[in-house]
Structure formats: C-alpha cells, structure tokens
C-alpha cells in the first residue's frame, strides 16, 4: 500500500493501539480492517495537541461499502476540520471541531482504492486510508452532476435577467428620447436592478479589438462606471452619467440622449455575450461573494447611486443575484456540507428579512431612498448583516470546486 509521507510515530490517545505509520513499501501496523457495526465499517479519528497537532486513526483499512468516521477533538487547538479525500476531491468532512465538543460522525460509501484523510493544521496533514475490495462501479459522480445542473440553471437565470435589462433600458431610452424627466427618473431604478443582479458575471468583458487595460473597450466601465473611478481619457458613460443628468441636474439634454443610445447598444452587446457563457460551480460561488463585496463597498456607503439614492434597490438586487447563484449550488452543496448550506441559507433569510423592512411600494424601485439620515442611522446594521453572510459564503467555492 502507498503511504504518503515518511515514517512518523503516532500514539493513539485511546491507549488501545500504538499506531505506526510506516514508509512506503513497509507492511502496515494494523492490517485488520475496521470493525463493522450497524452495517458500516467504524473508524475512529482522534485529534490531539501532541507534536503540534496529531490526527490519529484507529484503523487505516476498511472493506468496501459504507464507512462511518467518528471524529473527536480531544486537545488539538490547531485542527478544526477534517476531510476524506480522493485525489483532492472532498468526499466527506467535518468542521467546527474544537476541544470539548462532542464526537461527530459522517458516513460515506467507498469502493476499493486509496483515499486520504486530510487534517489541515496537523503536523502531518495527510494520511492514507485504504479500502479493500471492489472499486466503486462508476464514479460516484452524483454531487458533481447535480452541481453541473445547477450551473446550467444559473446560466438560464442570467440570460433571463439580461433580457429583462434590455427591455428596461429600452423603456428608459424611450422616456429620455421623449424628454419626459419624471418618467425617465422612474424608469432608471427599474433598469438598474437587472444589472446589479448579475454584475459579477459581466465584470471583465472586453470588446473585440481592445486591450484589457483600455477602459474604452471595457463593458462594465461603459455601462456602470461611477464618478469615483472615472478614466478621463474615456469620459463618463452609462447608467451613472444618465443618473447625474436626471437626478442632479434635473434635465435631459442632447448628451443625455447620446448616453441613453450608447447604453442601449452596450446592453445589447452584453445580451449577446452572456448567452455564450458557461459557468463552473465555483464561478457561482465566487460571483455570489463578489456581489456581497459590491454591497459592502458601494451600496452601504451610498456611493453607487449618489444622485438618485436608489442604493437599496441595487442592494436588494445584489442580494437577489447572490441568493440565486447560491440556490443553484445548494442541492449539490447540501451533499458536501449540509451544515454550511444551512448556515448560508439562514444568513440569506436574515438579510432578506432585514431588507423587507425598507420596502416602500410608493417609491420607484420599491425601496426607501438611501438618504444621508438613513445611512447615518442604519449603515452599520446593514453592513453587519452582510458580514455575517460573507464569512460562511466565502467557504463555498473550495467545496464545490472539488466536488466529486
């Protein structure tokens, strides 16, 4: 059998077994497979603080079939999680392991072959776990397939959002062309929210023939640039230049009409581009995380809609986009890490509940204006709610990226 690392002596904390993990080619210390109870092989994993953190398996061999790993952290302050891996893919795991907490367990069905027990933070992080008998008939494939389905569903969602954006921007342009300031002001937030739902997917689009460093070819710049990051060489285009005319200057001029026509053309380009996109599961996770970063960096501060104060419309749209991406991952993530799935679901629910308190159907876009007073009184509360969502959400990408 293959051993991943040089000789190392581990002492079982149970006192039952002295466990020698030997160099490749040597015979195993304990050739007995794990005992079977309740129809599953039973493997105990004990974490101790010895040697700066030690992960001890009472058996390193099991027969093919269901295997239950029971994990107890006795004294290992440096180890908080453990994973069962096959070629760097996570098959099962336990997190939030800390000294004093009760034993936790997980069960997986394994075919014959070599697996790895990964204990990040231990002096020896990876140990081999061998399963004897028939290899699994087909690659388990389940979770990866479910996640792949999710990414297709998400792609469909993005297409729908961009279609909605095309329509809403057309309505905005019609109002601007007609010189109807009130109508244009009301249409503006209706168009914004579509962009804010999916902006993480369209960042970095460069039009053909332009360099990545040239903002004149950067679609996100042309559509969504704010006053704070203007490139003087390229000038101000897109939603926020229109916002300035409609909400700061309260006028529609010939330049406003030019801006609206440009925006319509660029959104049309986006529409074509997104339909060619394919997503990996981690793209959804990273996109959701990026949308939350957008909330923290430009909505909470009131910088996004500094003239119109429709920041909460954008805020809600960012959250909706992130929640959709997460929802399409959830069926697969549930299989990898149900606890994390539940935590993220709870935090999304908390944010949504919080946002509901700001709804106002009498205001275009459906949310209260984010005035200086509202910002002063509520920014902390809003930001805190997002932070509580960001931390668990940031754990998702690595899980789905390695799914089997």
């Amino acid at each position: 059998m293959q051993r991943p690392s040089p000789c190392r002596i581990l002492i079982a904390a149970t006192g039952l077994t002295a466990l020698f993990v030997l160099a490749p080619g040597a015979f195993a210390h304990d050739s007995a497979p794990a005992p079977i109870a309740n129809g599953a092989s039973q493997v105990k994993i004990t974490l101790t603080g010895d040697n700066g953190g030690t992960c001890i398996l009472d058996h390193t061999i099991a027969k093919a079939g269901p295997v239950t790993f029971s994990v107890t952290n006795k004294t290992a302050t440096a180890i908080t999680e453990i994973e069962l891996q096959s070629n760097n893919r996570i098959l099962g795991e336990k997190e939030n392991l800390a000294p004093g907490l009760p034993t936790v367990s997980f069960t997986v069905t394994l075919g014959g072959g070599a697996y790895q027990i990964y204990c990040p933070g231990a002096a020896q992080e990876t140990q081999t776990f061998t399963v004897t008998g028939q290899a699994a008939a087909a690659a388990t494939g389940g979770t990866a397939a479910i996640l792949a389905d999710g990414t297709k569903g998400y792609a469909h969602y993005v297409d729908g959002v961009v279609d909605g954006m095309v329509t809403a921007v057309n309505r905005l342009k019609v109002a601007i062309d007609a010189g109807d300031l009130a109508k244009a002001q009301a249409e503006y937030p209706q168009a914004r929210l579509f962009y804010e739902r999916i902006e993480s997917d369209v960042e970095g689009f460069v039009l053909p023939g332009f360099k990545a460093t040239n903002n004149a070819g950067n679609l996100d710049y042309l559509v969504d640039m704010r006053a704070s990051n203007l490139d003087p060489k390229v000038g101000w285009h897109g939603f926020h230049a229109i916002e300035r005319d409609l909400f700061r200057d309260h006028m529609i001029g010939s330049n406003t009409r030019t801006l609206a026509a440009e925006l319509q053309a660029n959104v049309g380009r986006l529409d074509k581009l997104v339909k060619t996109l394919e997503y990996k599961p981690e793209d959804l996770a990273n996109g959701a995380a990026d949308l939350l970063e957008e909330v923290q960096s430009s909505k909470i501060t009131g910088e996004e809609e500094s003239f119109s104060h429709y920041d909460l419309v954008d805020f809600a749209a960012n959250i909706e986009g992130a929640q959709q991406a997460f929802a399409f991952l959830a069926p697969g993530l549930e299989k990898i890490d149900p606890d994390l799935t539940k935590r993220v679901q709870m935090q999304f629910a908390a944010v949504t509940t919080l946002l509901d308190g700001y709804r106002d159907p009498t205001v275009p876009g459906g949310f209260r204006l984010y005035t200086a007073e509202l910002k002063a009184s509520d920014a902390t509360k809003l930001s805190r709610s997002i932070q509580s969502l960001q931390e668990p959400l940031s754990k998702i990408a690595e899980k789905v990226a390695t799914a089997h």
């Binding site: 907490l101 933070g121 908390a350 902390t380 990408a397």
Partner: protein
C-alpha cells in the same frame, strides 16, 4: 490562585530573554521630573526598567481564573463586544469551543489555521498579519453578557447570581453605539498588532459560525493600570492612575474572584467596562493647582495632597488653616477611596484610547475603564458617588458601558464555560 505557574514565576522573578526578533523594548518611566519623589524610588512597587519581553507568553488553559485579569497589564488592548445572532444553544457551544481552541493557539503566538490554503479556491483561515510576531504576552479574556443566561439557550438557570444590567448611574451619558453586548473579548498584548489580529480572527469565527456579530470596539494604548511590581502609569489626564489598585493575592480573593455558586463560576469575576471620554483640550488649559485639587494628588509625584510620596496614605481629615480640607470634598480620590466606601475595592485594568478627531475638531480620546469585582454593586457604589459629585465630571463623560461575567479558565481539552451546558 493563579492558574499558571509560569506566569507567577515570571511575575516574581522578572528576567529578560531575547525574543525571536531580538527585540527588547526598555522604557524608563517616571523620568519626567526629579523635584518630587516618584515611583522608581519605591522598590516595593516600582519597576525602573519596565521592560517588555515580546517572547513572553501566558497559558490559556488552567484550573483557576482566565488570564488577563491578574496578569500584569500589557501595553495595548483591543476590546470588542458582540451580539448573539443565533438562537441555537449548540451554536453558542461551538463558538465558545472554537474561540477557546483558537485563543490557546493565539496566546502561544501561533496561527489559528492555514494562511495560504493548499486549495486555490479556499479563503485563508488565519488572516496572517501576526505571522512571525512573538506572543507578546497576549491574553484574550472571554466574557458572557446577561443575554447568554436566558431560556433561548436553556441557560436561565445558570445565570451567575449577581449578573444583571447595571443600574442607571449619575452623569451617565451612555450612547447606544458604545453600550452593551452579549459576549466580550478583551485582548491585551505588548504588541498592538498581536492584539488586533487575535480579535479580528476571533470575530471571523463568530461570523462564520453565524453565532455572533460585532457590536462595539475600542483599541487602547498605554496601560493605565499597574499590576504587582509594575510602576504606576499615567492616563491621558497626565496623572498616575491606579496607585491604590488591588495588587495582593488576599485582596484578589476578597474583592475580585467569585467564591460561591456552581463550581463552573468559581474564580470567575464580573467585568464592567466604561468608555470614558475625556475633554482633554479643556483639561489641558486648566491651571495645575486646580487639576491637583480635582484629582486630590500632585501631578508628577502622584502623592496625595496630604503627603509627599505616591504611596503615602491620603489623610482625608487633614484641614488647612482656614478649616477647609486639604483634599477637597469633591476630589476624585476622596470619593473613590475605600476608606470612604465601607472598604469597597475593585480591580482596575484600564487603557487609554484615542479615536482621532471628533466632528467638532476636538481630540477624541479618553479611558477605556475596565474593572473586575465579585459584585457589580461595588462598582455602582463607587460610581454613584463619583457620578454625583466628582470634580472630574467637568472633564469626562461616561459614554459607553457593558457588564459581563468572566468564567474561569477551561482545563485543557475543554472550553470556556463548558460545564454550564452540562
């Protein structure tokens, strides 16, 4: 009893070791003036060198109190309170266990997890800014607020007997944004980045587990209290603070540690925190004779107005030729003295703070007052008197407040307050 032999031995036999970085910071205190006797002349209390050994570390686990109370005050603090955001008992258990394991790592000067994980899609576990920094005597002390002990967590029956919200006290000018909290972390270290890193990473665990969210925080510098053998430092008023602080073991037993109730509460203590803003521009223009009368001490020496040396006992009965008291009736030390408060004493472990410049253009600074006592009523007794009559009130405002029960240290293999869940 102290929970750590190493700690006491270092306390009793201060010695110098070179840290990994070879950095040893020595600061001579009390050198501001020589006309009046000062602390270095007092070997019983003075530490002329007042050196920092960044390699020093304290133990987290133990059989008595948590570190960070009796521990000799370090130079810097990062203090934060949290609101519980989960109604699940298990989430609270997981958070306290995760915090305990992480604090044990941090106090050893180690990371709490991978800084640069193997998998490129993973976010770092430890934020990394304390890599290669020494332990710097870090202590992180965990406090449990009144809302922990409710039916929500099945802990109403475990509430420490004297834990309750503080009563409203005279001159309270509390602002909601600096008040309250369900959990507290007091991180003290001789390197401010070590203290900051500890609380930052522990706050991440709170958010990641969905159990708690940050409420308010103060970063303090320049310890404004002394432990046994340390020279008395100065607060931002320029006066020595804590000359009559608790130092002796017998006084800790009498005034600081909780001695009764369930076993898991013994060697606990009540932590009371007050954010005290100082109107320092006004103070700085006050004539020094008035400053001395406000405090009741001489500024440089720290001696009471009735004495010549810092540790002279104040004579509250001494009068001038015109019959008025030498230490005025409204002097801070008169109102706070145990002689005038039925013998009540509290352990103070405060730090100076600054938060820049306020909206009116004034320096925004003050004292993060932290007190430990075995009955919150002791603090109330003192502050009721001070808040009503202290001449210092013209120059300070109590703008923040919170109270926590600080349970004893866990034994290795356990976590903070594990027994209350049994």
């Amino acid at each position: 009893m102290p929970n750590d032999d190493k700690r006491t031995s270092e306390t009793r036999h201060p010695h110098l070791r070179f840290s990994r970085r070879g950095l040893l910071v020595g600061v001579a205190v009390g050198s501001a003036g020589a006309a009046v006797p000062y602390a270095t002349a007092q070997p019983a209390h003075g530490d002329a060198e007042d050196r920092i050994d960044l390699a020093r570390q304290h133990a987290f686990y133990g059989a008595a109190e948590q570190a960070g109370i009796r521990t000799l005050p370090q130079r810097h603090i990062f203090y934060m309170t949290f609101d519980l955001t989960s109604p699940q008992r298990r989430d609270l258990q997981v958070l306290l266990a995760r915090w305990s394991g992480a604090i044990a790592q941090l106090m050893k000067g180690q990371t709490i997890g991978q800084v640069e994980p193997d998998r490129s899609s993973a976010a770092g576990f430890d934020t990394g800014e304390a890599l290669a920094l020494d332990p710097a005597s870090l202590t992180v002390t965990v406090g449990l607020g009144p809302n922990v002990f409710t039916d929500t967590y099945g802990l109403a029956g475990q509430r420490p007997a004297l834990l309750r919200a503080l009563e409203q006290l005279p001159s309270d000018a509390l602002k909601p944004e600096f008040t309250g909290g369900d959990l507290s972390l007091q991180a003290c270290a001789d390197d401010p980045q070590v203290a900051y890193h500890a609380v930052r990473d522990l706050a991440r665990i709170a958010k990641e587990t969905g159990t708690a969210a940050t409420r308010w925080t103060v970063m303090g510098f320049g310890r404004a209290s002394a432990g046994k053998g340390q020279a008395t430092p100065r607060n931002l008023l320029g006066f020595k603070d804590g000359t009559r602080n608790i130092r002796e073991d017998a006084d800790f037993e009498k005034f600081v540690w909780v001695k009764d109730g369930p076993a898991w509460q013994r060697h606990g203590s009540y932590q009371i925190v007050r954010k005290i803003q100082m109107h320092i521009e006004n103070w700085d223009t006050d004539r020094v004779s008035d400053q001395n009368n406000v405090i009741g001490r001489h500024k440089i020496s720290g001696a009471p107005l009735t004495g010549t040396e810092e540790f002279d006992a104040p004579d509250f009965h001494k009068v001038k030729s015109d019959g008025s008291p030498v230490i005025p009736d409204t002097a801070h030390i008169r109102l706070a003295a145990f002689e005038n408060n039925d013998g009540v004493r509290i352990l103070r472990r405060s730090y100076n703070y600054t938060e820049g410049i306020n909206q009116f253009g004034f320096l925004d600074a003050g004292l993060l007052f932290i007190a430990y006592q075995n009955d919150p009523a002791h603090f109330e007794t003192l502050q009721r008197k001070l808040g009503a009559a202290d001449a210092l009130n013209e120059y300070i405002s109590h703008i923040g407040s919170a109270i926590f029960f600080v349970p004893p240290a866990p034994l290795e293999g356990s976590y903070i307050a594990e027994s209350m869940f049994a």
